[in-house]
Symmetry: C2
Subunit: 308 residues, 2 copies
């Protein structure tokens, strides 16, 4: 069992809600190196040769198992680019818990770019959870630029659940999904920015297979002078259906831009988009303040509800 | 009274629903020249010097009056670029009926670009109707690229009602609106494309004044192998509200892309967007066919209802 320092343990508590343990299939990356890892009977993790990252092989007998692959950056000034590939065998059922936390107490920027590719076999069901978090008193930025590529074969189901908790100064998210016949995609993206943070999220979902469907829900809160840009794109090239929904709350001097794109290239493509940007619900605020909460407490309750 | 040829009269019936008459304030442009025009007590039309187009002055005593400014292009191979400016005095109430029809029986492209600017004074109320239409057996294209700029002062109200009926091979629409305090904008855009037609509509609405509001409704039907792209953008830089709705029906091998953009730069900007692309309603089709309509007739009824 590898001994973990205090900062790493604290950061892990934020980004791995289930509690990170060194058992089953797992890989802990710290400051640009793979600190410890383990395999299970059905899940094997291999370090890549020639470049940073791991290959994760999930066999067809995997049912209800978890893989934990957290990343912690606690050295100021680091740029960590890592390539992780996931090969999920047909019929497998797995939950992958990723997440990255940056503790930056220095004056240099710390950055982690996780470039993930998911090759999901026929009928497999994958849940991917990713939490992003930044902390530390340093003036250096905490930067996270994840790239997520998802290839879904026939009947595959993928749930993408991403959360940016707080403390991330700059993020550019790129997500690409290609869907085969009857594949299903569920995306739940939650994002909170504050102070002068900037966040951009680009997503492109290609529904190429007949019967494929996608549900994309994005919820965000922008506080302070932060800036957010959302650009989800759903392309239907076959009989398919998609529903994209982006809701944002703006506070203070924040700015949110939502640019959803829906593109129907097939007679039987049915795609719906909804987006709304507005301030916090005044009626709810008044009600909670009547119950004795301060304005700040009332806002916190409403935001928590909105993001959860 | 200027004598009009048969083609011009037929095209006018399509683009001026109220019936074009040479009375009151009007200007008929034909094949790149101003064929005839008239003023009224409150509305004066002046030909521009140095470039094509007219200046239309609508005074503050105008109440419930119409201005008709149709454009007919019946010569194959013409490129007609015209600049029309409208100066609407504070408190005026006016309906401006524009529209352009191209009859192209030749093998060369015919194109009309109407570049319109509306300077709308405090509290004025303007309704602007614009119908686009193409016909003729020629192989030359019928091309319409309108540019519409709308400047709304305090309390001004502007209704923009545009229809592309049929027969327009290529169109790129550019619409820009700047809104002052408490200004109101209503946009109803209807567009039908067929065969290999292409249509693009870009709109940017800047809600700069406190209390400004915009309602934008876009409805389209894409048949054959036609292509449509919608890019409406609503920017809220003050306390304001906007609702953008784009609905499209695709048929045959058509393709529709909808890229709405909502951008909130102010705490009290509330902006909502909805978009949907899908095929014709199957239940309605079945019901109408049960009533004895052929498939084509049933489709025509549903499309008419959707666009009207």
């Amino acid at each position: 069992m590898t001994e973990l320092d205090h900062i790493t343990e604290q950061v892990l508590k934020q980004i791995d809600g289930d509690g990170f343990r060194q058992e089953g299939a797992y890989n802990l990356r710290q400051n640009g190196i793979s600190l410890c890892h383990g395999d299970s009977e059905h899940i094997k993790i291999k370090r890549k040769e020639g470049k940073q990252g791991i290959d994760v092989y999930i066999d067809e007998n995997t049912k209800g198992e978890y893989v934990h692959i957290p990343v912690v950056v606690s050295t100021s000034g680091i740029v960590d680019v890592v390539y992780n590939d996931f090969f999920i065998a047909p019929g497998a059922e797995v939950t992958i818990v990723a997440g990255c936390g940056i503790h930056n107490s220095g004056c240099n920027d710390s950055r982690h770019d996780g470039i993930h590719a998911f090759h999901v076999g026929k009928g497999a069901n994958v849940r991917y959870e990713e939490k992003h978090y930044g902390e530390g008193e340093g003036s250096g930025s905490r930067i996270l630029n994840p790239v997520t590529k998802i290839y879904l074969e026939e009947d595959a189901v993928f749930t993408l659940d991403t959360v940016q908790i707080k403390g991330v100064d700059s993020t550019i998210r790129e997500t690409d999904v290609e869907m085969g016949e009857n594949a299903k995609l569920y995306v739940m993206e939650k994002l909170m920015t504050h102070d002068k943070q900037v966040a951009e999220s680009n997503m492109e979902v290609q529904m190429n297979g007949a019967g494929s469907s996608a549900q994309i829900i994005s919820r965000s809160v922008a506080k302070g002078e932060s800036r957010q840009v959302f650009h989800p794109k759903a392309v239907g090239s076959a009989k398919c259906s998609a529903h994209v929904q982006c809701d944002s709350i703006i506070m203070d001097q924040a700015e949110v831009s939502s640019i959803p794109e829906i593109n129907a290239k097939h007679l039987d493509a049915a795609i719906i988009h909804e987006a709304a940007i507005g301030r916090i619900n005044d009626e709810q605020l008044v009600k909670l303040r009547t119950l004795g909460l301060t304005e700040e407490e009332a806002e916190a309750v409403i935001i928590d509800n909105f993001l959860n």
